[in-house]
Amino acid sequence: MKAVFERTSGLIDRETHYCPGCTHGIIHRLVGEVLEELDALEQTVGVASVGCSVLSYHYFNCDMTQAAHGRAPAVATGLKRVLPKERLIFTYQGDGDLASIGMGEIVHAAARGENITVIFVNNAIYGMTGGQMAPTSLLGQKTATTPEGRAAQTQGLPIRVSEMLATLDGASYIERVSTHDVPHVIKAKKAIKKAFQNQKDEKGFSMVEILSTCPTNWGLNPEESMQWVKDEMVPYYPLGVYKDHSYKGDGV
């Protein structure tokens, strides 16, 4: 029998701890497939962050270092700056990690044009700690810390990270994608591949923001969660390329 689809060698063959309907699994697979296709697994060091994806070092089939909450871009900078330039360094961060406690690190990594790849998984909530408000939670969104729904007057307004980082001259490639249906998953993979290829080409800081689900903490089933991304998240977080220009030129 001819194999038409196989597990990517980019992931270790083991059960994940992610909830049913959570798209971390899809995003892990996309990153794994890209690293396999680029023949880069042996050259890659990933940086796990804090949050649901803290254990991603159990799944990616490459060297992994686990960073303190929010500090993955700084850890990635340390790795990137001391290792041979062929090595590919990526961070895998959620929205609480990257957009709240780690906002300083991500902004300055982008401003430095740090030649790393950032996989930013935005599901508009803190998952691991039990569904608290994230900087990306939508107005009206009910969370453990906004039981009446997020209100602009008291909790402020959600942060559009891609748009913000795209204003920095140091950022080279910023794209927001989604995982709520198959065509978007395919687009997401293309973006992730480009973000790694950019690093190979030494173009500088590349980040893919990926809209993702959290059925458990949203209180929705997996199907409703996909619909919620499409209906609620995408309108506030428009998909598309926000930056595709390297101040470092087209690389070498």
């Binding site: 270790i12 697994l41 042996e42 050259q43 890659t44 060091v45 940086v47 796990a48 803290v54 254990l55 070092y57 990616f60 089939n61 490459c62 060297d63 992994m64 270092t65 686990q66 960073a67 303190a68 500090r71 700084a74 850890v75 990635a76 900078t77 340390g78 790795l79 990137k80 700056r81 001391v82 290792l83 090595r87 590919l88 300083g104 690190e105 902004v107 300055h108």
Partner: protein, 357 residues
């Protein structure tokens, strides 16, 4: 190599480079900023890398990343900035990553001031961050000793896979003295780092560096190994100097800058016929507890006096060391005030004659 006249902060930088440290992640703060500037200028000359981070927090995490890759790496700060590094130091300790962190301490608490102080003693010797961990702490008292101890710091870091603290203060950072740099031994550079995450490149299965362990039993086991390591360090890495203690009946305990001043006060007291000497802990952790205890017993010391530029921190370790067999007095200045030879001399006289009018 002949002697060169240099500033303390710069001596740390050059010693680190001579110890094979070619990577430095820094952030400006007085009174250690000359070290950052020195590394910015010098490291590119030796093919190394200096990077100014956006914060002390980021700098220590860049160190974490570089240490994960297996290179010798350093960062430095001063008291308030050092506090910000504590989370990262806890992570380094837990992940068994070697690195050297310099604290050129200043007056505190809070923003305090930029004058020299020893009030970070508790913080650096008792772990400082969260969790059960310690970091070896080396406290030089001259610039020549900075040369030796900076290199030792990297040796200890690599040998035991641990962050090591080099503790100075504003005096040591800012003063100038002639120093002689020595070539480091080959053994100094022969630490195999097969645990580093450098990309597998045909070198077996992927490696992971983490401080997370969600299983209570295995985390306890992991912590037990950490404690075992600390026991070995306590056994192997104690450093202490004694000065004019051979026939002493009074012992002064002081480290770093204060120990220099105490030496002058001891000399003066000796001229006045007092049998007094100095015990100078060089490793503050591991603390030379059994040395102080044994010396106190052997010499049947009458009294000990601890002098610090703090409200009294190391004195607690001195008291724990002697467990009440000798009374331990304390004299301290803090807030950036440096005790004078005369002040300390008066305190020494008090040991013999009681409170003076």
């Amino acid at each position: 190599m002949g002697k060169v006249l240099m500033k303390g902060n710069e001596v740390i930088g050059e010693s680190a480079i001579k110890a094979g440290c070619h990577y430095f992640f820094g952030y400006p703060i007085t009174p250690q900023s000359e070290l950052v500037a020195y590394m910015a200028k010098r490291l590119p000359e030796v093919g190394g890398l200096f990077l100014q981070a956006e914060s002390e927090v980021s700098a220590i995490n860049m160190v974490y990343g570089a240490a994960s890759a297996g290179v010798r790496v350093m960062t430095s700060s001063s008291s308030p900035g050092f506090s910000l590094k504590q989370e990262g130091i806890s992570f380094l300790a837990a992940a068994n990553l070697p690195a050297v962190i310099v604290n050129i301490a200043r007056g505190g608490p809070g923003l305090g001031n930029i004058q020299p102080a020893q009030s970070d003693y508790f913080q650096v010797t008792k772990g400082g961050g969260h969790g059960d961990y310690y970091t070896p702490v080396l406290a030089p008292s001259t610039l020549q000793e900075i040369v030796d101890l900076t290199q030792e710091a990297f040796r200890i870091a690599d040998q035991y896979r641990t962050p090591v603290i080099l503790l100075g203060d504003g005096v040591l950072g800012q003063m100038m003295e002639p120093v002689e740099f020595k070539e480091t031994s080959e053994e100094m550079h022969l630490f195999e780092k097969d645990w580093a995450t450098t990309g597998t490149v045909g070198d077996g299965p992927p490696k992971t560096i983490t401080s997370l362990d969600l299983n209570d039993v295995s985390l306890e086991e992991r912590n037990r190994k950490l404690q075992e390591k600390y026991e070995t360090i306590k056994d192997q890495e104690v450093r202490v100097e004694s000065y004019k203690m051979d026939d002493a009946i009074y012992g002064i305990v002081a480290y770093g800058t204060v120990a220099r001043i105490v030496k002058s006060a001891v000399d003066r007291a000796r001229e006045a016929g007092m049998k007094v000497g100095l015990i100078r802990p060089i490793s503050l952790w591991p603390f030379p507890s059994s040395y102080i205890r044994k010396l106190s017993e052997q010499l049947q010391l009458n009294k000990l006096l601890t002098v610090e530029m703090s409200a009294g921190q190391m004195v607690e370790d001195v008291r724990l060391s002697v467990e009440g067999i000798v009374p331990v007095h304390f004299y301290g200045r803090n807030g950036g005030v440096i005790p004078t030879v005369d002040e300390i001399y008066q305190e020494i006289l008090k040991l013999k004659y009681g409170v003076m009018v």
